[in-house]
Amino acid sequence: MLSVEEYTRQAKMCVRCTFCKFIDLNWVKSLRFSRQCPIDSRYAFNLFSPHGLLHSALAELDGSLEFTPKLMEALYQCTLCGACDARCKRNLDIEVLQVIENLRIRCVEQGKGPMPEHKVMADNIRKTHNEYGEPHENRQKWLGNIKPAQKADIVYFVGCNSAYKQPELAQNTAKILGHTGTDFMLLADEWCAGNYVMATGQVDLARELAEHNVKAIEDSGAKTVITSSAEVYKSLKVDFPRLLGKSTEDMPYTPLHITEYLDQLMQDGKLEFKKNVNMKVTYHDPCNLGRLSEPWQEWVPNYVRVIPIGKVWRRGERGIYDAPRNILKGISGIELVEMERNRSNTWCAGSCGGTEMAFPDFAMWSASERIEEAQATGADAIVTASPDVKQLLTKAVKAKKANMAVYDITEIILKAI
Amino acid sequence: MAIKEELAGIVGAENVSDDAEKLKPYSKDYSLSAPGMPSYVVKPKNADEIQKIVILANKNKLPVVPCSSGIHFNGDTIPVQGGIVLDLSGLNKILNIDTRNRMARVEAGVTWEQLQPELAKHDMMAISPLLPHHQKSALISHLERDPAVIPKFEYTDALVTVEVVLPEGEIFKTGSAAVPGFPDKSFADGVNPSGPGNMMWTRMLQGAQGTLGVVTWGQFKIEYRPKVNKTYFIPFNNVKDAVVAVSKIQRRMIGEECLILNNVDLAAILAKQWPGDFNTLREKLPPWTLILVLGGGVRFPEEKIEYEEDALKEVAKELSIKNLPTSLSAAPGVEKDIVDMLRSAWPGDRTYWKLAYKGGCQDLFFHTVMGKAQAFYEAIGKVAVKHGYPAADLGCYVQPVIYGGACHFECNFYYDPANAEEVKMVTKLYAEASKTALDMGAFYSRPYGPITDIVYQRAASFTSELKKVKKLMDPNNIMSPGRLCF
């Protein structure tokens, strides 16, 4: 995590230009969908904004501000979606997200945070290795009649949501892999990947989860880990190396999202979608698969004047945006229409960062905003590539009584094969 | 010492008068405003003299009414409460023509007749209102925001900096002219209208009708005067269609002069022999004519005209306009003269076009959006007919402004000032038509005449603050008291 010196340097560079609140300006097409920061859009007070949190970080550091309930509200309603980080790096290259993450870590270290719901989640994970507190021995119950390989080069890392809450999505993934002739295995002892643990500043527990899961992957002998959860993907690709002081490329496995894997098969001519799926859809880029999923580079701060030497910038452009779209476009009958805020401009649906469990109303508001944007495209359905996002968007559609279906991309793929 | 003697001590005895015959010309003008006799007329030669006069006026609580042009049509220089008329016609120097920054700095008494030919020597022109009277002050046109015949946004807000004698007697220069050593010893060229400080003084003085100070000189933008031009006279049966065409033309950002005149006004402008020419022209001219001048650029002028012509033809095609005449069958040869006419003052050796028909003309004008021109024309026409004004005599001029984003809409009521009945009729007509237009959403950005009181009553929040500003700047209320809402 950031040293105090680096943390201070980054936060001090903020000049409050407020670029962090808007999508990339060249992509703005309307007043309605021009903004990108959920807390800023909802609350408008400057505290509820990336620059507000950066300056709060400095104030907390110099002792002029404590972790008051209001600060905690702003800090933990921020979904850590990374929009501000990508936008700021157009002009100022400040590590906005890392500063906010570190502020959460400091909050936890001082015993003020995280939110009670996050502590419950952490306790659950300590006891049962999943965020819900469900029996650990039920983690593979979703398999039913599906029989993964005993040994394979590919591990399918399922994730808590698919394992326990939406088993059909795990089954979809398994069937899809089977359809493509891909042998895969499960980890002998898969634990929660800890996306929300890391996000909520509970770094020690996050590191334990990383160590355990990485060892489990190493022990399995697999070189590739596939997942259909955007959250797990980000954990595998970014959080695990970061927690272990390594770069993504140094890890003993290659993480792939199911869409990446299938897209590659399509490019190699090894996958065709034979069935028609007549639907007009719009694709929601999950933050964890897009902006937040660029490879992590372990870097020791080294500056010449203000230029960091040897640093590989993570500005959001190397996220997984094309693969899901290639898949959807590759299915005949699918008409793909884009929302105004797409790719690295995506609007956070509200499930990131642990926000939903502590602030469900706010998360629902964010999801509702996204549904409105999807409706504006005229699409029949919104498709995403994250079980958590799918779950929340489904709730929002129901609450709004919106005439829109919500799909995980594995559901669409399954229809097409 | 008597006031007159004090004034003579400032400007010289030959430049002061309290003789009734000499005061009479200042007591009235070509508007329907009630006459008002001043106590003195004074002709200063420079700002220092004006300053001393204003200080004297403050001491004696004497009104001061500045008057720069040699002719007036709006009643804005008629003293309401007596006092001193400050005749600024003696401040008639063109102080500087800056062809590099394209600016002209002129004293208040410089007329359009004087200015345009001087600028033409440098292939430049000031963007003027429609055919200003030869005695009209060019600076006053800018101060009073007369609408320009070229609606290019690039050319508007032409007035940048001024020198003003404020109502308490201080001489003040606005914008970047405020720097020490201006104009000869400063880096600044006086082209920035903002400030000094966080106010725009130049703007505050515009539209003030002499109530906030006496402007002695002003600097304004001048532009290249195209040498190669091509004029179109596009006929329309109604103003509604004309404004649609203007809107499309302006969206393509082509053309220089662009204005719409009805047959009555155009006939008055083009008639040389009266009344024969006028009646013939009025009958033969189309109901409405859009005059559009395509001006060649500094370089490759014919090619500029060529591409603008192509664009115009595309507009014509869109609107199914079959004819794009470059002449007027009712006035053969006018195409040779019209451009020079529009870039000059009305010649001093001819009766002014607004006065030639009957000797008098009352203008009713305001700002509105172009789409409402037809509705206003019809409504004002109805009021005119109601009062017995002949429909065939109703003049109308629509001047698009800023790429057609709005327009100056003007109706002209021609009348014989020697005929008491006509005067009475037009007075009533004008009052009612003004109010009708106001109720329909006309915006009197420059209120004159009877509508003034109503406008300021309705604009209560504005009026209240404006009065505070006036009180601050002119605590003794000596500058044109009784004018506007003061």
């Binding site: 408008a44 157009r90 959001g316 | 603008e308």
Partner: protein, 503 residues
């Protein structure tokens, strides 16, 4: 210093409890200026309040006047006037209404509407607005009143004052003031009058004290005709741009052997009325544009400084007077216009001795239509300062020399730009010009930049230069004693002296 319960309740009755707060974390985030945290003696406001309507703003101001509590208001800019204790901070971000009258070329909007949002809506309608160089994210209303300049001010008006139509204000004394057509009707299409133009009373576009006499709550703003073709966005952040239709736009870079030739040519370009914008391009900008992105790091280059020190600086030392200009030619309205403009440009280039004139055939724009590339300047040093002047091009040229001479005295730690970061942007077809002299230093050396500015101003005041934000105590006595006058108008509209002071 806390608000009394009585005042708090009064404010709450205006906006409701959700939009009012005196929480320390809220106030901490509100009080920060656009600079280093804690820099300057900026105090925390005593509460933060978020009105949604002009009536709510008026209600708040009236309470301030009743209880003699100072206030400060802003949208995107850091709030002014927080060097005083006990200030109520009025945050106007919730006021976000926008209406566009496409036919009559104006938009009516509230403080919370950003330029990028307005531009996005206008592009859909074949219209365009200028966007300031500080970024399309800023408030249209606030920026237009306070300064309002951007690249296309070359054609579409000097600064914001040219585009302001009717306005609605709440004066600092709590009165509602509507100027222009809004004084008589609920229509913001015309800005002047009735009679004297009180827009001149309320704002000046001089980057000074924008809310010192009142808060603008609604404004009509002029928008402009544009090409029919759509400017489509392309790319992923940070390398995004708008694709410019090549039949309507053409970028040209051209290089003059001397600064004088460049200035003379720019004057001629303005007179010929070609282009959508034209400017000189400091080589500093080229270096910054090239030194970003992962590629430099991956190939081992040390980024900006490596590029500047080893590539640009030697070129500049070899040709110190060489001046690069850029123009965007504009083919609006006719398919032949672009070719005409190009012909005129090349004719001018030939006459004024360009050593290089190339249509870069760049078909994308990163910066000028949405101003997505603002604040990039910070990359070079961490901090920068600007000496800004709006006057004639010749005035700018003379003032640039003064800035260059003074810069040398402060190098190091101010970074040596070899006199090349003087940026000329002519406006109004060269009737007026903005000169911005950017100077850079690291965060730790920001103080030296202030000293440099001070030295420049000492010289400016004597030669009759006209910079923005002049220090009143230095310039006032020489400039018609204007502070005395502006103070009186301030007192008129702010009798209790509660709005931010004139700076």
């Amino acid at each position: 210093m806390a608000l009394s319960k009585e005042v708090y309740k009064a404010l709450e009755s205006v906006v409701g409890p959700e939009w009012l707060s005196d929480d320390p974390a809220i106030l901490e985030a509100d009080h920060v200026g656009g600079s280093v945290h804690g820099g300057g003696d900026i105090k925390r406001p005593v509460c933060s309040i978020q009105p949604e309507t002009a009536e709510e703003v008026q209600g708040i101001i009236k309470i301030c006047n009743k209880y003699m509590i100072p206030f400060s208001a802003t949208t995107t800019n850091p709030p002014p006037g927080l060097d005083r204790e006990g200030v109520i901070f009025i945050d106007l971000k919730r006021m976000r209404k926008l209406e566009i009258d496409e036919e009559n070329l104006y938009a009516t909007l509230e403080p919370g509407v950003s330029f990028a949002a307005l531009q996005g809506e206008l592009f859909k309608r074949g219209l365009v607005t200028f966007v300031p160089m500080c970024g399309g994210n800023v408030s249209v209303l606030a920026n237009t009143l306070n300064v309002g300049e951007g690249a296309i001010s070359y054609r579409y008006g000097d600064r914001g004052y040219r585009r302001v139509l009717a306005t609605e204000w709440v004066t600092a004394g709590g009165e509602m003031l509507r100027i222009g057509s809004s004084a008589l009707q609920d229509d913001y299409f015309w800005g002047e009058g009735p009679g004297p133009d009180l827009r001149g009373l309320m704002a000046s576009a001089n980057l000074e004290s924008p809310t010192t006499r009142g808060i603008c709550t609604k404004m009509g703003v002029r928008v402009f005709p544009f090409v029919d073709e759509k400017l489509e966005p392309t790319g992923d952040a940070p390398m995004t741009s708008l694709v410019l239709p090549s039949n309507r736009f053409m970028y040209y870079n051209f290089v003059f052997p001397t600064k004088e030739a460049a200035i003379n040519a720019i004057y001629e370009i303005g007179k010929c009325e070609i282009g959508l914008f034209v400017m000189t391009v400091p080589p500093w900008f080229f270096a910054m544009a090239r030194a970003r992105g992962s590629a430099e790091v991956l190939t081992g280059a040390a980024g900006f400084w490596d590029y500047w020190d080893n590539h640009e600086a030697p070129l500049i030392r070899e040709n110190p007077n060489q001046t690069t200009c850029r123009i965007l030619l504009y083919g609006i309205g006719s398919d032949k216009r672009l070719a005409y403009e190009e012909k005129v440009l090349l004719d001018i280039c030939k006459e004024y001795g360009t050593t290089f004139a190339k249509a870069s055939r760049r078909t994308t724009d990163e910066t000028h239509f949405m101003s997505a590339d603002a604040i990039v300047s910070n990359l070079a040093g961490g901090r920068f300062t600007s000496v800004i002047l709006f006057e004639s091009l010749d005035h700018g040229y003379k003032c640039a020399d003064i800035v260059n001479v003074n810069t040398k005295k402060h190098v190091p730690p101010v970074l040596d730009d070899y006199g090349t970061t003087n940026w000329f942007l002519p406006f109004e077809m060269c009737h007026i010009c903005k000169l911005e002299c950017l100077r850079f230093a690291s965060v730790e050396d920001a103080g030296e930049l202030a000293l440099l500015m001070d030295d420049c101003h000492k010289d400016f005041v004597d030669v009759g230069a006209f910079p923005v934000r002049p220090a009143a105590e230095r310039y006032g006595p020489k400039w018609e004693n204007y502070p005395e006058k502006t103070r009186k108008f301030k007192e008129l509209l702010d009798p209790n002296n509660l709005a931010p002071p004139i700076t």
